[in-house]
Structures are given as structure tokens and as C-alpha cells.
């Protein structure tokens, strides 16, 4: 199994979620994060002075999937989260050795 971690622009969440559901992904976990990268941050004004805010609000989506679904999911996220502008985000894939569903104790595939 794989753990897919995607950093996306906040207002893209709904579209991404829908397309993943369409693929049969039954769940995901979302975290509000601040991202730093090529995309330039905003400047806040304070007493006439400008202050550069280099961290931008992003959303981190974590999805655990069976290995065979990996490409489909990556594909769905990339197409839905893309705007073509700098700052669209990244997708990271890490190995997932074990999954447990707390409610039932089911493990791995059955737990997703």
C-alpha cells in the first residue's frame, strides 16, 4: 500500500475530493498547512511598511491506497488540482507497511 501526500491550493479541495470519490477512494485526511516555494508570498502592510509573508496557505491531503490504485489517484489529483500557475503544489508517495481500522481492527486492504 502507499501513502499519497498532496499539497494543493485550498480552493481546489472540493474538486479533488469528488474525483477521488469517483475513483472509489473512501477516505482522506486533510490538514491546513503553510507552504514555502517558488510561488511568491504576499506583502502585508503595517504602519505603511511592507512585510513579506513568504508562507502561503495550502492544504495537505493524505490518502492511503492500495498500490494498484496509485497511478489513478496521482492522475486524478494532478488533473483536478492543476491551475497551471506556480504554486499548484506537489504529490509525495511514501511506502505504507500497515493499516488498521480502529473501529474493527481490520487491517491493510480491508481497513481502507
Amino acid at each position: 500500500m502507499k501513502l499519497i501526500t498532496a499539497i494543493i491550493k485550498p480552493f481546489k479541495l472540493d474538486e479533488v475530493r469528488e474525483s477521488l470519490s469517483a475513483l472509489g477512494v473512501q477516505g482522506m485526511t486533510v490538514t491546513e498547512v503553510k507552504g514555502y516555494g517558488r510561488q511568491k508570498g504576499h506583502t502585508e502592510i503595517y504602519r505603511g511598511a511592507e512585510y513579506a509573508v513568504s508562507f502561503l496557505p495550502k492544504l495537505k491531503i493524505e490518502v492511503a491506497v492500495k498500490s494498484e490504485m496509485l497511478d489513478a489517484v496521482i492522475d486524478a489529483i494532478t488533473t483536478k488540482a492543476k491551475t497551471g500557475q506556480i504554486g499548484d503544489g506537489k504529490i509525495f508517495v511514501t511506502p505504507l507497511e500497515q493499516v488498521v481500522r480502529i473501529r474493527t481492527g481490520e487491517t491493510d486492504g480491508d481497513a481502507l
Partner: protein, 445 residues
């Protein structure tokens, strides 16, 4: 305040004046003075409005501008100052500021000590010189609310780094050794009032005074850790907008209330206040819009406060056009002092207590001399309209006297407190935040 006015009136006019007042308030001969219910209603209302300026007004205005980790500590400063000053004012403050010292010579400098704990203030007591148509209990309370907000304003320059214990000491000593004497000099029968200084509601007594103390305090305390590279922009301007709005609303008690009557002077003061405040808010906003390309909310509310400050000494003396000009000048001047001068000189007046209250108060005091209009207030003759250039000199003496006396005394008080309890929190506490360390509380979210 009425005082100047009455002072200046020729005896007869003066008597006439009092007579009318008395008349409109019923027979003046009754054993118990008959108070004017309209004046009394307005002055109790004004007192409540001015109290509202400090809590929650000023508390929120400042609280929204600091970083989140210090918001509760900042509220605690306004609230704590309100409490300690109320008690000290009842014990001795009112007596030395607004009662007459039996010794005429001494009275030029400080009031009497006969009113400790307000003991002589009975049900029918009246401060006939300063507030002839209302119960003294009301006048004492009204002046108390001024005594509360003035020291509380200083908190703007010491935000984010002073010990709470030191702060409470500071408020107490500053009230007794700086505010009370100066209030007596200008309003209580002291030498500045006698000289003819025009300060309707406290441009020098309140704002320049608090602003000067704020400047000295931030110089003594030094800069906040992280100033310059850390983002110290306001954590929640919603709070600051609520605060600025309540300051604005409450300020009608401050300026119109200083008429000590519900009359045409109060009305004109209210109109002037509203006009100058809006003009200053727009002036600061446009100045920033031009320079920084965006009209920030902080610019609008800072400008509004600058206008309120500058019109304070002038409110009862100028006409609407005078108010408009004073407002515009205040918005631009305070913008420059808070944004450019501060950066140039490099002191850390955290929330611009000096930049807004000090500069705005001094500017307002001088412009009062320029635009005061005898047709608006029989107790005043200004330079531009009435051709009384000499008034400018008097206004300057007033400004200089307050600046010098307050500056020196504030420095001494701070040094004494620093020796005894220490002024500044430890770097760890400052970095981690005052809320949790000084008060054991945080805002959960």
C-alpha cells in the same frame, strides 16, 4: 472645560452666566442646591461613555494590534489600570486635582487635601467653580474617567514587554505625581489655566501627557525582541476596529461632556469632534494609499484616533470648518510621525502612543490657538479668526510645560520602579508570550 470660560468672563457676565444656570436649575437659594436634571443626565451618560473608551475601547484597540500571545496581557493592562486608578482617585486623586488648596500660592501647583476618601462629599455637594449645575458625585466620577484613560493610553508604547506588577506600580505613581498635578494646573485652578491656556477636553492634560510618558517609557524599556525581522503586524484587526469605534463613540462623552452642561457648547463640541475624526481617518488612509498603494484598515482607525486626539483641546472652541482643517492636519502629521519619524529615529513605540497621542495632542493644542473662535466660545479668543496671536504663545507654554514636567517625572518614576520590581520581563517570557507566563491564560482556538 467650563473653567477658562468662567475665569475669563468679566465679573458681571460671569455672575449673569451662573445666574442663568442657577435659574434654569431652579432656585439657587434653597438650602440644597437644585441641580439641572438635563445636565446631570448628560454628565452621568458622559462618564459612562468615557469609561467605555478605556474598557473595552482602548483595551481592544491595543489588544488587536499586539501579537496573539500577548492579547490577554494587553487587555489586563487597560482593565487593571481602570481598577487601581479608580480607587486611588477616590482616596486622594480628586482631592489634589480638583479641589482648591487653602493656600492660594500652593493652589497654583496642587489642589487641597481636604477631600481624602471623598469624606466631605455629601449628597448635595457641588463643585460650584467647575460644575455648578450637577452633583459633585457626578463631576468627581466624570473626572475619574479622564484620570483612568490617560495613564492607560501609555500602555501603547510598552506593549509586549513590561511586567504586570511594574505596570500597576507605574499607573499608580504616574497618576499621583504626573496626571493629578497637571490636571490641577490646567483645569483645577492652577497656573496654566490662570495663564489662559485653552484645553477644552485634554489635548495637553490627557494626550500630550500620555504620549510624552509613552515616548520616555519605550526609550527606557528598549526595543522588543525580534523587532524588524519578525512579523509584528496586528494579530486581529477586528478587535482593533471594535476598539477604535467604541473610542470614537465614547469620545462624545469626553469632548461634549467637557461642556459640563447639555447645551450649545456641548453640541458644537460634538459636531466638531465628528467632523475632525472623519477627516483625519480619510487623510491618513489616503496618505497610505498613495505611499503604500493600499488603504489599510489600520490606517483608517489610526487616523480616526489621531483626529479624535487633535480635536480634543479644540472641540469647544472651533467651528466646523476649523474642525475639518484640524482633522486633516492631524491625519497627515500622525501618519508621518508614526510611520516615517519612528522608523528614522528608531525607538520602539509599539502601538504608536507617542506618534498618535503625543504628536496629535501637541498639534491640537497649537491649532486650538490658531482656530479658537470667540463666537463659538466666549471664553476664548484665537489667532486667525479673532487676531489674538498671543494665544499661540500661551498654548506653546502649555505644551512645553506638560512635555518637560511629564518627561522628567516619568523617567524618574520608571527608574525607581525598575530598581524595586524591575520593568521588563525575561527574554524567555517575552518570546513565549505574556499571556501564559504573566497571567496563566491563553486564547484557545
Amino acid at each position: 472645560m467650563m473653567k477658562i470660560e468662567t475665569l475669563k468672563k468679566a465679573g458681571i457676565a460671569g455672575l449673569a452666566g451662573l445666574a442663568t444656570l442657577a435659574a434654569s436649575a431652579g432656585t439657587a437659594l434653597a438650602a440644597a442646591p437644585k441641580f439641572d436634571t438635563g445636565d446631570t443626565a448628560w454628565m452621568i451618560t458622559s462618564s459612562a461613555l468615557v469609561l467605555m473608551m478605556t474598557i473595552p475601547g482602548l483595551a481592544l484597540f491595543y489588544g488587536g494590534m499586539v501579537r496573539k500571545k500577548n492579547v490577554l496581557a494587553t487587555l489586563a493592562q487597560s482593565f487593571g489600570a481602570t481598577c487601581i486608578i479608580t480607587v486611588l482617585w477616590m482616596i486622594i486623586g480628586y482631592s489634589i486635582a480638583f479641589t482648591t488648596n487653602p493656600n492660594a500660592g500652593t493652589n497654583a501647583w496642587i489642589g487641597g487635601f481636604g477631600y481624602l476618601f471623598l469624606a466631605p462629599m455629601g449628597l448635595d455637594a457641588v463643585n460650584s467653580g467647575l460644575a455648578p449645575t450637577i452633583p459633585e458625585s457626578v463631576y468627581m466620577f466624570f473626572q475619574m474617567t479622564f484620570a483612568i484613560i490617560t495613564p492607560a493610553l501609555i500602555a501603547g508604547s510598552l506593549a509586549d514587554r513590561m511586567k504586570f506588577s511594574a505596570f500597576m506600580w507605574f499607573m499608580s505613581l504616574w497618576l499621583l505625581f504626573v496626571y493629578c498635578p497637571i490636571a490641577h494646573w490646567v483645569w483645577g485652578g492652577g497656573w496654566l489655566g490662570a495663564m489662559g491656556a485653552l484645553d477644552y477636553a485634554g489635548g495637553t492634560v490627557v494626550h500630550l501627557n500620555a504620549g510624552t510618558a509613552a515616548l520616555v517609557t519605550c526609550l527606557v524599556l528598549g526595543k522588543r525582541i525580534g523587532l524588524g525581522h519578525e512579523n509584528m503586524s496586528p494579530h486581529n484587526l477586528v478587535l482593533s476596529v471594535i476598539g477604535a469605534s467604541l473610542l470614537w463613540v465614547g469620545w462624545f462623552g469626553f469632548n461634549a461632556g467637557s461642556a459640563v452642561h447639555a447645551d450649545h457648547n456641548a453640541g458644537m463640541a460634538a459636531a466638531a469632534t465628528q467632523i475632525a475624526t472623519a477627516a483625519a481617518a480619510l487623510a491618513w488612509m489616503f496618505a497610505e494609499w498613495i505611499v503604500a498603494k493600499k488603504p489599510s484598515v489600520l490606517a483608517m482607525i489610526s487616523g480616526a484616533v489621531a483626529g479624535l486626539v487633535a480635536i480634543t483641546p479644540a472641540s469647544g472652541y472651533v467651528d466646523p470648518v476649523g474642525a475639518l482643517i484640524i482633522g486633516i492636519a492631524a491625519g497627515v502629521a500622525c501618519y508621518i510621525s508614526s510611520v516615517w519619524v519612528k522608523k528614522a529615529i528608531g525607538y520602539d513605540d509599539s502601538l504608536d502612543a507617542w506618534g498618535v497621542h503625543g504628536v496629535g495632542g501637541a498639534l491640537g493644542a497649537m491649532m486650538t490657538g490658531m482656530f479658537a473662535k470667540n463666537a463659538i466660545n466666549s471664553g476664548a479668543k484665537g489667532w486667525l479668526i479673532d487676531g489674538n496671536g498671543h494665544q499661540m504663545l500661551i498654548q506653546f507654554y502649555d505644551v512645553a510645560a506638560v512635555f518637560v514636567y511629564c518627561g522628567i517625572m516619568t523617567f524618574i518614576i520608571l527608574k525607581v520602579i525598575d530598581m524595586i520590581v524591575g520593568l521588563r520581563v525575561s527574554p524567555e517570557v517575552e518570546v513565549e508570550g505574556l499571556d501564559i507566563n504573566l497571567h496563566g491564560e491563553t486564547v484557545h482556538d
